[in-house]
Amino acid sequence: QKSSKTSDNNPATDKSSKLSAINITYVKSPLNVPSIVEKQKGIVEKEFAKEGLQINYPEITSGAKQTEALAAGSVDICNAVGGTSCILAASNGVDLKIISMYSRAPKAFMIITKSPNIKTIADLKGKKVAGPKGTVLHQMLLTALVKNNIKPEDVEHVAMEQPAAVAALINGSVDAVLAAGGSAEQAIKAGGRVLINGEGLVDGASVVAVSGKFLKEHPDFVKRFKQVHLASLQFIKDNPEEAYKMGAEQLGITVDEVKRMYSWYDFDPTIKPSDIQELKNTQDFLINTKMQTKTINIEDLIAEVK
């Protein structure tokens, strides 16, 4: 009732009453149990059923495509998008606001190798490492290299998507891969060995983002959406077994695997100072690697709706 009241009074939110459908990206992997639960249980639908709001879950997994769709107005909420994608998009002029964190999972991001000769990061010198460019994984690799006093140029980073990278590792085309979630599992099952994970290197943060315009026009909706998200998290806390089972079904892995990996993830949506620092680190990484040309103010990117 509160929302309808605000919309009555505030001309800026006038359109919120006219909202008829909302598009929220649905990204289930690597282990986005909250998204899975939200969609499977229809939690968001229930919340907005009264207004007759239709909720769509387009599956757009690539971060770049999510921000494109957001810019094009085809998507209203990017639920679980990498920090790098947000910063890159914003620095190139996309009107985008981070409304909350989605997850942090440093342990879920790994460098995996099959070669017995590679025992430490230092051994990567002169080797080929495959993995997606401009992502947390990439950032992790570079951070690890710098930390070990290896010049980034001394390691050949081969840009490819995770599944392809794992195939390349198995085939012996590369010496190590950057992988997370299912792809990491796959690499390990195929004889790979975890060299390091992201702990102490990166937070592996993904965030929830909306367009600035949407935020301005429907602050109410955003607020309520965040509350619903909290409710979903609460649900998982209360019914962990059911949530794991749902995750296992949707991700095509066993409940045990879900359980084990779930412990790596921190789904607290609150944007903490450390998260802001992490985003800043990410921007530095992007600038240093020349992937980003225009520096932006990270604080401006964040719009916490309280």
Binding site: N23, Y26, S29, Y57, P58, E59, I60, T61, K65, E68, A69, A71, A72, S74, V75, P163, V166, A167, I170, N171, G182, S183, E185, Q186, K189, A190, L251, G252, I253
Partner: protein, 255 residues
């Protein structure tokens, strides 16, 4: 018998696949054994999952192909019959013909959103050109001697088309359509990259993301077999039209 001959090579491939998997020549994470693939396939079929994906993709393939045909066929005929128009369209069509549809996805999303339209556009982009170019080519190469017959009888343009150009160009149009339909299937992955939640292409993409090569292979097999089947049906139907062509020429599948 003919069909059995056709099965020879697939059978050899299967045998290699089987022995290779058995002896571990290749990694089972990327190429699972035929047995495992078969089991996964069985599960996907009996659970109805595969059917759901197939139906959606079938719809997309046919809708996209139909759209492409409705655009390409008349354009090919019109440009073929009014050659002075070719000059106007040539450059732009040539341009689009070379552009990878995948590169245009962001723009497709901008213009057409993330719904069905964008997906159909990707399929149209893939199947338009074989239909268009083969039709146009057929019309341009239509036997001048036969066209003159129509001209001498004072046929209007539409009659020249209906009674001479169309029947004479039919084999070309057919070839274009078959190529075009094939490319429609191939474009499924590209189409269903755009925010799909179902479809064989989506199933394959999703399986890749979830590292389920067995599902990927089931998807690939489904597309290949279904596409082949539909092409055969398509061809059987069209075969009827072409009886006039010197007997033996229509005997074989690619005639």
């Amino acid at each position: 018998m003919r069909f059995l001959k056709g099965l020879l090579i697939p059978f050899v491939v299967l045998a290699i696949w089987y022995t290779g998997s058995k002896s571990g020549i290749w990694n089972s994470f990327i190429l699972p054994s035929p047995v495992q693939t078969f089991e996964t396939g069985q599960y996907l079929i009996t659970s109805g999952i595969l059917l759901k994906h197939v139906l959606i993709s079938l719809y997309r393939v046919f809708a996209g192909f139909a759209l492409a045909f409705l655009l390409a066929f008349p354009l090919g005929i019109i440009l073929g019959m009014k050659r002075q128009l070719i000059d106007y369209f040539e450059l732009i069509i040539e341009f689009v013909r070379h552009v990878p549809p995948l590169a245009t996805v962001p723009m497709l999303i901008l213009w057409f959103g993330i719904g069905e339209i964008s997906k159909l556009v990707v399929i149209v982009l893939a199947s338009f050109f074989p239909i268009f170019l083969n039709t146009l080519d057929g019309v341009l190469r239509c036997d001048e001697h036969l066209l003159e017959v129509g001209e001498s009888f004072g046929f209007a343009a539409r009659d020249r088309f209906k009674y001479i150009i169309f029947p004479a160009t039919f084999p070309y149009i057919l070839m274009g359509m078959r190529l075009g339909l094939g490319y429609s299937w191939r474009a499924l992955i590209g189409a269903e990259i755009i925010a799909a939640t179902a479809g064989i292409g989506y199933m394959i993409l999703d399986a890749e993301l979830l590292s389920r090569p067995d599902i990927m292979i089931v998807g690939i097999l489904t597309i290949g077999i279904l596409g082949t089947l539909i092409d055969f049906v398509f061809f059987r139907i069209t075969n009827v039209f072409v009886i006039w062509k010197e007997g033996e020429k229509t005997q074989n599948g690619w005639g």
